[in-house]
Amino acid sequence: MLTLPSRQRYQPMLDFAHSVQALRPQLLRFAQAQLRNAAWAEDAVSETLLAALAKPQAFAGQSQLKTWLVGILKHKLIDQIRRHSREVSATSAEDGEDIDALLFDETGAWREAPAEWVDPEAACGRREFFEVLEVCVDQLPGVQGRVFMMREWLELDSGEICKELGITATNLWVLLHRARLRLQMCLQERWFGQRATVS
């Protein structure tokens, strides 16, 4: 005769499912920041939660639930990128914008010299700084944002990114170059420019 599992046996499972579910909004935000497509982000997160709930024993011994889930999510995001590589790498007009022309004149000299960032070491340890950085990354144009996140968040190397997206190394470098310039401009405007700077 079949016996139902006792409450003591399934309660930990329920608690685990609740804890996993509670992290869903945050995972969705990360997925959206990487993919910049709501439907794909939804898919990646659903696949992550299913995988996590299917093998809760894999979590045992890991210190942080969120870190473990983010690790799974990163793999699912790479799957999504692979699946939609053509759309993922379709550049917008904003991606194509010559950001260098804004910063440099025809002779290649700075239009306005970069500022000295004050107290950078202190900034690096602050939560508010990371929040500003996050906003700046979110504001990058589509493909620049995706490749920047692939490089700096998914920690893929240039060769892997080119392979997944079917783009040339030169294309990738132009995208990353523009993304990094935009980020520095954004941080100047939203963080360092708000503080005392040496000009």
Partner: protein, 68 residues
């Protein structure tokens, strides 16, 4: 010597490229030569260095529980 004298635009391009690929010997030499005589670009270089320090910390902040 003049062939190695780059303008700021070209030097920032190389400095940023250095974040994603190893620079060649001539490229590194050109960057160093320019930085020695330019007032503005060394600041840009320090901004890039800060980003290099900040990004792994941002990743850790993002992926850890304390960001919840």
């Amino acid at each position: 010597m003049k062939m190695f004298r780059h303008n700021c635009r070209r030097v920032t391009e190389l400095v940023l490229a250095g974040e994603d690929r190893p620079l060649g010997l001539l490229e590194r030499w050109a960057v160093r030569a320019h930085l020695a005589v330019c007032k503005a670009c060394p600041r840009f270089l320090r901004q890039v260095a800060l980003m290099r320090t900040a990004l792994p910390r941002w990743r850790a902040y993002r992926d850890g529980n304390d960001a919840a």
